[in-house]
C-alpha cells in the first residue's frame, strides 16, 4: 500500500516542512542575537542580576530550541516514506532515563540559580536608613508621597480622598505628621541611594512597572507592600501600569527621575512649595 501516499509529493512536503523549521530556528535565534527589540539598559545591580539570569536561561533554552526544532526537521526529511517498513521499536529505556535526568538537572539548576536575585529583592528588607516613598495607584494615575522633614508619613483616610481639592491620597491634615508630607504626580529619587517603596492602591489593583529597574510590583487594595531598589544611573524613566485596571489602564503613565542628591533635594523643595 506504500505507493498510495509516497512518491515525490511526499518528498516535496517533507523538504518544505524541514526547510520551514530550519528557517524558523535560524531567524528566531538571529532576532534574539540582534537585540533590535530588547530590554533597555539596566540601571541597578538588581536589574543586572536579572539580565544575567535571563541570559543564562536564553543560552539553555536556545540550545534546546535549536536541537529540538532541527532534530524534528531532520527526522521528517530523513524518514519520509520511501517504501518499505519502518524500524520496529517500542523505545529505549536508557535513552529515556538519560534525557530525563539531563533536562531535570538543567531546568531545576536554572531555577535554583534564579532565586538569588529574587531573594535580594524580596527576602531581604531595605537597607536601614533607606529613604521611603509611598506609591499609590488609582484609576488612572500614580501618586507619590514623601514623608517630609519629620521622616514620618502622616495618617490617611479613604473618606478624605478628593482629587478636586488636591488630596488624591486622602491625607488627614489634622495629623501633625501629615503636615509636611509631600504628594507628587511624578517620582524622583536620588541616585545611588537605597529607596524603600511602599505600594498601596485606592480602588482596584494596579502594577508599578519600571523597565530599566526590571521592577514590577502590583499595588493591591487592602495591602501594603514594601520593596526596595537602588537606581545607579541618573536619567528620566517611564513608569507604566502593568495590571489591567479599567478603561484608562494604558494611559496610567508617569516618570521616574533619578537625580543627583542636590538636584533631588531641590526637586523635593519645589514640589513641597506647590
Amino acid at each position: 500500500m506504500e505507493q498510495k501516499q509516497s512518491g515525490t509529493g511526499g518528498s516535496l512536503v517533507a523538504a518544505g516542512l524541514a526547510l520551514s523549521l530550519v528557517v524558523l530556528t535560524f531567524s528566531t535565534i538571529y532576532i534574539f542575537f540582534k537585540r533590535t527589540w530588547w530590554f533597555p539598559e539596566p540601571i541597578s545591580a538588581f536589574a543586572e542580576a536579572v539580565d544575567r539570569q535571563f541570559d543564562r536561561t536564553l543560552v539553555i533554552t536556545g540550545l534546546v530550541f535549536f536541537l529540538a526544532q532541527l532534530a524534528l526537521g531532520y527526522v521528517i526529511f530523513r524518514y519520509r516514506d520511501r517504501g518499505g517498513r519502518a524500524r520496529y521499536s517500542h523505545g529505549n529505556t536508557v535513552l529515556e532515563i538519560l534525557w530525563t535526568s539531563a533536562t531535570a538537572v538543567m531546568f531545576i539548576g536554572l531555577g535554583i540559580a534564579a532565586e538569588r536575585a529574587w531573594a535580594s529583592l524580596h527576602w531581604m528588607g531595605a537597607a536601614p536608613g533607606a529613604m521611603q516613598v509611598e506609591i499609590t495607584g488609582k484609576q488612572f494615575a500614580w501618586n507619590f508621597r514623601y514623608p517630609g522633614a519629620d521622616g514620618q508619613f502622616g495618617r490617611t483616610d479613604p473618606s478624605l480622598v478628593n482629587d478636586a481639592a488636591g488630596n488624591p491620597v486622602g491625607l488627614d491634615t489634622n495629623d501633625a505628621a501629615a503636615q509636611d508630607d509631600v504628594v507628587t504626580a511624578t517620582m524622583a529619587v536620588p541616585v545611588n541611594q537605597e529607596v524603600e517603596v511602599i505600594l498601596r492602591a485606592v480602588d482596584v489593583t494596579h502594577s508599578f512597572f519600571v523597565r530599566e529597574l526590571r521592577f514590577k510590583q502590583d499595588a493591591v487594595p487592602g495591602m501594603v507592600i514594601r520593596l526596595h531598589f537602588k537606581a545607579e544611573k541618573t536619567g528620566s524613566y517611564e513608569v507604566a501600569c502593568a495590571e489591567l485596571c479599567g478603561l484608562g489602564h494604558h494611559r496610567m503613565r508617569t516618570v521616574l527621575q533619578v537625580l543627583p542628591e542636590d538636584e533631588f533635594q531641590a526637586w523635593l523643595r519645589e514640589q513641597a512649595a506647590e
Binding site: F39, Y79, G91, T103, G246, H250
Partner: protein, 581 residues
C-alpha cells in the same frame, strides 16, 4: 464486560431525539465540535478587530465606528474567554473525546448518556449567556478573562461593562463549570468501567489516557472555579466581601465592602487556571501522539513513559498556580516553591517532545494533512514551552509578567498548539465521523499559511514583550517607548489577516467534504485502533452489539514478520496475518 453493554440504549426515532436532545455520544460530540467551530470564528473575528485597532486606531471598523478603549478591552475579554472556555475546553475534550473515547475503548456509549446530554446543553446555555453580555447596557465586561477583583466585583462604578456584562460573564462561567463537572465525571467513569475485553489500561490509545487525565484535572479545577464564581457573584449582588477589602474609594465614592482579599480570587482562579492550560493541551498531546504513530508507521516511542509523563504533568500542573502571581504581593517564600515546581514540569514536557521525535525516528513518514498538523504541534509545543522557562523564574518574570511576552507564550502553547491538535483531529477523524474524506489538497493548502502565519503573529510578541510592551493596552500612544514597537504591530496584524483568511479554506473544505467528499473506507489510514474497525460513520451503538476483544497495545505498526505493516488491536494473534511480538 457486562456493564459495557448495559448502557446501550434504543436508537431514537424522531429528529429532536436524534439530533437535538440526543443521548448518543457521537451526536453530542459533533454538537460540541460545531459549537466550538462557531465560537472560534466569533473569537477570531474579535481578535481581528483588536489587531486592526492596534495598528489603525482611527479607522472605522465594522460594528464600531472608531473603537474606544473600553470597547477594545471588552473585545479582549470576550476573545480570551470564548477561546479558552468555548473553544479549547470544548472541542478537544468534550467534542472529540465524546465521540472517540467510547469507540476507542470498545463501548457502546458514555457511562451516563443523560448526563452527557445535559452537559452539552449546559455548555450551550452558558455560551448563549456569555454572548448576551455583548447586548446588555454597558456592553461586555472589560476585566479580562481573569476577572480580577476588585475591578470585577464592584460594579459599573469601576468602568463600563462591569455591571450587567460582568454579571452575565460570571453566571455564564458558573454554568460552564457545572457542565464541565458533569462531563468530567462521565469521562472518568467511562474510562474506568466500560473498557471492552482485553482493553487493559496500558493498552489504551494515548488519546484515551489524555482524555482521562484531562477529566481528572477538570473535576478538580472547575469545582474550585465554580466556588470562586459563586463567591464573586455574592460579592457583586449580595453585599458580601470575599474579594473586596475595606476602604476602597472608586471615582471618589467610598465602597461599603469590608474585609475581603483580592489575592484570594487570584489563588482560586489560578488553581483552576493553570490546570486549565493542561485541560486545553493534553487532548492535543494525545491526538498528536496518535497521529504521529499512525503516519510514521511505528509504535509510539516509550508508551509507558508517555503515560507517566501525562500523569506527572497533571500532578505538577495542580501545584504551580502561583507562577501567575509572582508580582501579586503573595508570600515571596512560596514563590520559591512555585518556581521550582514549575521548572519541574519542563521535565515531563521534554519527555513528551523527545518521544515524539523518537517515534518519527526510523519511521516511514506519510505526509498526510493530519500528520502535518501533528508535526506542527510538536514544533509549536517546543517554541511555546521554552518561553515558559523564563516566566517560571520569579526574578526573570518581573520584567516579563503582564507583557506581550506572556501573550506570545500562551498563544503558542495553549492557543495555537491546541488548535493544531484540533485541526489534526479533524483531518484525521473526519471520514470516520461523516463518512467522507476531506480534501487532502485543500488540507495542505490550509496548513502552510496557518503554520507560517501563527509563527509570524505570535513569535514577534515575545520581542515587544522584552522591550516592555504591556498587555491589555488598547492604545500605545501614552507610553512613549511603545512608539518604536509599532512596526512590529503592523507586521503581526498583516500576518493575522493572512492567517485568518486561510481559515476559510478549512471551513470550505469541511462543508464541501461533508456533502461532496470522497466516500470513506472503514480504515483509510491503515490504522490499528478500534475506531477503524467500525463503519464510517459508526451505527448508533458503535459495534452493532458485537463488542470487539482486544489482543494487544494500540500502536503495533511495522511488526516484523506480519503480512501488513499494521496489526490492529482486535485481531487475535496468528489470525489475519498478524505477527506476534
Amino acid at each position: 464486560m457486562a456493564e459495557a453493554h448495559a448502557v446501550a440504549h434504543e436508537a431514537p426515532k424522531g429528529f429532536i431525539r436524534k439530533y437535538i436532545f440526543s443521548l448518543d455520544h457521537k451526536v453530542i460530540g459533533i454538537q460540541y465540535i460545531l459549537l466550538a467551530l462557531a465560537a472560534v470564528f466569533v473569537g477570531m473575528f474579535l481578535s481581528l478587530l483588536m489587531r486592526l485597532h492596534l495598528v489603525w486606531p482611527n479607522a472605522k471598523l465594522p460594528f464600531f465606528d472608531v473603537m474606544t478603549p473600553e470597547q477594545y478591552l471588552a473585545l479582549m475579554t470576550m476573545h480570551g474567554t470564548i477561546m479558552v472556555f468555548f473553544v479549547l475546553t470544548t472541542a478537544p475534550q468534550s467534542g472529540f473525546g465524546n465521540y472517540f473515547l467510547p469507540i476507542q475503548i470498545g463501548a457502546a456509549d458514555m457511562a451516563f448518556p443523560t448526563l452527557n446530554m445535559l452537559s452539552f446543553w449546559f455548555t450551550f446555555v452558558s455560551f448563549a449567556v456569555m454572548m448576551a453580555a455583548f447586548f446588555v447596557v454597558g456592553g461586555a465586561p472589560i476585566s479580562g478573562w481573569t476577572a480580577y477583583p476588585p475591578l470585577s466585583a464592584v460594579g459599573e462604578i469601576a468602568g463600563p461593562g462591569l455591571g450587567w456584562g460582568q454579571s452575565l460573564w460570571v453566571i455564564s462561567i458558573a454554568i460552564f463549570c457545572g457542565a464541565s463537572l458533569m462531563g468530567a465525571l462521565n469521562f472518568i467513569t467511562t474510562t474506568l468501567d466500560l473498557r471492552t475485553k482485553g482493553m487493559s489500561l496500558m493498552r489504551m490509545p494515548l488519546t484515551c489516557w489524555a482524555w482521562f487525565v484531562t477529566a481528572i484535572l477538570a473535576l478538580l479545577g472547575f469545582a474550585v472555579l465554580l466556588a470562586a464564581g459563586i463567591l464573586l457573584l455574592l460579592d457583586r449582588h449580595a453585599g458580601t466581601s470575599f474579594f473586596v477589602p475595606g476602604g476602597l474609594v472608586i471615582t471618589e465614592k467610598l465602597i461599603p465592602h469590608k474585609g475581603g482579599s483580592p489575592l484570594l480570587w487570584q489563588h482560586l482562579f489560578w488553581f483552576f487556571g493553570h490546570p486549565e492550560v493542561y485541560i486545553a493541551i493534553l487532548p492535543g498531546m494525545g491526538i498528536t501522539s496518535h497521529i504521529l504513530s499512525t503516519f510514521a508507521r511505528k509504535p509510539i516511542f516509550g508508551y509507558r513513559a508517555m503515560v507517566y509523563a501525562i500523569f506527572a504533568i497533571a500532578l505538577l500542573g495542580l501545584s504551580v498556580w502561583g507562577h501567575h502571581m509572582f508580582t501579586s504581593g503573595m508570600s515571596p517564600y512560596s514563590a520559591f516553591a512555585f518556581s521550582l515546581l514549575t521548572m519541574s514540569i519542563g521535565v515531563p514536557s521534554a519527555i513528551k517532545t523527545f518521544n515524539w521525535i523518537g517515534t518519527l525516528w526510523g519511521g516511514q513518514i506519510r505526509f498526510t494533512t493530519p500528520m502535518l498538523f501533528a508535526i506542527g504541534f510538536v514544533s509549536l509545543f517546543v517554541s511555546g514551552g521554552l518561553s515558559g522557562i523564563f516566566l517560571a523564574q520569579p526574578a526573570v518574570d518581573l520584567p516579563l509578567h503582564d507583557t506581550y511576552f506572556v501573550v506570545g507564550h500562551f498563544h503558542l502553547i495553549m492557543g495555537v498548539a491546541a488548535i493544531f491538535g484540533m485541526f489534526g483531529a479533524t483531518y484525521y477523524w473526519f471520514s470516520k465521523m461523516f463518512g467522507r474524506q476531506m480534501s487532502e489538497f485543500l488540507g495542505k493548502l490550509h496548513f502552510w499559511p496557518t503554520f507560517i502565519g501563527v509563527y509570524c503573529i505570535f513569535m514577534p510578541m515575545h520581542f515587544i514583550g522584552l522591550a516592555g510592551h504591556e498587555r491589555r493596552y488598547p492604545d500605545t500612544t501614552a507610553v512613549q517607548y511603545l512608539a518604536a514597537l509599532q512596526p512590529v504591530h503592523l507586521f503581526m496584524t498583516i500576518a493575522a489577516i493572512v492567517t485568518i483568511a486561510a481559515q476559510f479554506i478549512f471551513v470550505f473544505n469541511f462543508f464541501w467534504s461533508l456533502w461532496r467528499g470522497k466516500k470513506a473506507e472503514v480504515n483509510p489510514w491503515e490504522a490499528t485502533t478500534l475506531e477503524w474497525t467500525v463503519p464510517s460513520p459508526p451505527p448508533h451503538d458503535n459495534f452493532a452489539g458485537r463488542y470487539p476483544a482486544v489482543y494487544r497495545g494500540p500502536y503495533e505498526y511495522g511488526v516484523p514478520g506480519a503480512a501488513k505493516d499494521f496489526t490492529p488491536q482486535h485481531v487475535p494473534d496468528g489470525a489475519g496475518g498478524a505477527g506476534s511480538h
